[in-house]
Symmetry: C2
Subunit: 224 residues, 2 copies
DNA sequence: AATGAAAATGAATTCATATTCATTTTCATT
DNA sequence: AATGAAAATGAATATGAATTCATTTTCATT
C-alpha cells in the first residue's frame, strides 16, 4: 500500500509546521526525517511520555542538541509526527473515497470501501501516532482535530455520492443512518486502537468482516 | 438513579485498596471521602495531570500533607477513584442486567436495556473517572481492566439469557452478532466519552436512540 | 483535664525530564 | 583550501509537580 511506504519524502509539508525549524543542509534534513521516522515507529511500541529526548537521539545516532536544532520542543516534534500521519491518511482518502470513486463503486461497494479504508488507516504504520493523538485528545492542542476534519470530508463525500445514487433525493432517514454507520465504524476502530481484548480485532480480518456485515445490514443492503 | 447519588458511603471497599491508608478517626474518614468526591467531580472537568495535590487539598479545605496521610501517592488516589467508580457501576449492572432480569425482559427489551444501561453508566457522575481510565489504558496499571471484567460479565449474562430464550440452543451466528453488538455499543460510547463532535451524542438522547435502533436492526428484532 | 496516639500542617526537598548554550565540527561556496 | 554560516555536541541547568518530615494540633479514652 502506498501510504505504508517507509522513508517517504517528508519535504513539502513539514517545512510549514509550527516549531519545525529550518533545515537547509542535506544532513539536517536527513536527521530531521530520521527523527520523524523513528518517532512514528516508536509510537507503535510505547507512549510518547516514555520516549525521552536522549533515548530518541541515541536511537537516531545523534545528540540531544541536534533534536533541538530541528524542533522547537517536544510538542513541535509530536506535531510533526501528526502532520506526517495526516498527510499520508489524506492522500489515501483522496485516492479511495473521492466522490467520483464512490459514484463509480455504487452504494454497497462504496460502504465496503469505507470499512476497508478506515480499517487500513487504523492498521497502518501510523497506528501508533493515531493512538497517541487519540489518547491526547483532551490536551489544549486537540491533536485529533485534523482526523475529525478528514472524517468530515469523507462523510461529505459519501452523502454527495449517495444523493447522486438516489437521483438527487436521499431520504432523511438514510442520511441519519449513513452518519451513524460512520460513527459506529470510527467508534469500533478507535476502541480497537486502544483495547486489545475484544472478540473482533483488527489483528485478523474479523473486525473488518464484522463491521462490513454490520454496516450493510444496518443500511439494508443485505449482509453477505 | 441510585448510582448517581452524591456522598455515597465509601466505607467497606476503599479500606482494601492498595495504597489507601487506614483512617481510624471520623475526621480522617471525612477528609478521605471529600478527596474522593472532589476527584470524581474534578475529572469531569479536567485531566488528572492538571489536578495538582496542592489544588486538590485547597479545594477540600486542608493541607497537602493530609493528602499523603490518606493516600500513599497520587497513583493510589486514582486507584481509589476507580474502585469507587467500578463499585457503583457493578451495583447498577447487577441490578439491571442480571441473568434473571434479562430472562424476564426477553431478547428485544433486554437489548434495549443493554443500550440504556451502558448509556447511563457513560453519562453518570463517574463519566470523568471512566474517561481518565480510558485515556490511561496503556499505562502499566491498565486502569480500564476492571471495566473490561464488568463488560465480560455483562456479555456472559446476555449469552446465558439468550440461550435460555432460544430454548438452550443459540445459533453460532447469533452469538457472534451479540458479541459484535456489544463491541459497537462500547465503541460508540467510548468514542463519545472522548469526542464531542459527533452527529449522535449522549448529550441529548440521540445516541441512545441511534444505538438502540442499530442494535435491534442488526439483531433482526426490527427497529422502532 | 491529662495523655498518648492519630492526624494535619506546609515549607523544603526530591526527582525526572525537558531544555539550554558555549564550544566544536561540518557544510557549501569561493 | 579558506571562510563564514549552519549544524551538532552533551554536560549543565531549568522546570514543575510529587513527595517528605519535623512540628503542631486534634481526637478519644481514662
Amino acid at each position: 500500500m502506498n501510504f505504508e511506504d517507509n522513508d517517504m519524502p517528508l519535504t513539502g509539508f513539514l517545512e510549514n509546521v509550527a516549531g519545525v525549524l529550518e533545515a537547509n543542509q542535506a544532513r539536517s534534513v536527513r536527521i530531521r526525517d530520521s527523527y520523524i521516522n523513528a518517532g512514528i515507529d516508536l509510537l507503535n511500541e510505547e507512549r510518547l511520555n516514555h520516549v525521552t529526548i536522549p533515548d530518541l537521539a541515541k536511537l537516531c545516532g545523534c545528540s540531544v542538541g541536534s533534536f533541538y536544532t530541528r524542533f522547537k520542543d517536544k510538542e513541535a516534534y509530536f506535531r510533526a509526527l501528526r502532520v506526517t500521519t495526516i498527510h499520508a491518511c489524506n492522500m489515501e482518502i483522496d485516492r479511495r473515497v473521492s466522490v467520483d470513486a464512490l459514484i463509480t463503486l455504487g452504494p454497497k461497494k462504496g460502504l465496503e470501501e469505507l470499512v476497508d479504508l478506515m480499517s487500513d488507516l487504523f492498521t497502518s504504520r501510523y497506528r501508533g501516532v493515531l493512538r497517541e493523538s487519540l489518547l491526547r485528545i483532551l490536551e489544549p492542542d486537540d491533536p485529533w482535530a485534523p482526523m475529525r476534519d478528514s472524517a468530515r470530508g469523507i462523510m461529505s463525500n459519501y452523502h454527495l455520492a449517495f444523493e447522486n445514487a438516489f437521483e438527487g433525493y436521499m431520504p432523511k432517514e438514510a442520511r441519519r443512518r449513513l452518519s451513524f454507520c460512520f460513527q459506529m465504524i470510527v467508534g469500533v476502530l478507535q476502541n480497537d486502537l486502544v483495547n486489545d481484548y475484544h472478540v473482533f480485532s483488527t489483528k485478523d480480518k474479523s473486525l473488518r468482516n464484522g463491521l462490513r456485515e454490520a454496516v450493510l445490514n444496518y443500511m439494508n443492503f443485505g449482509g453477505r
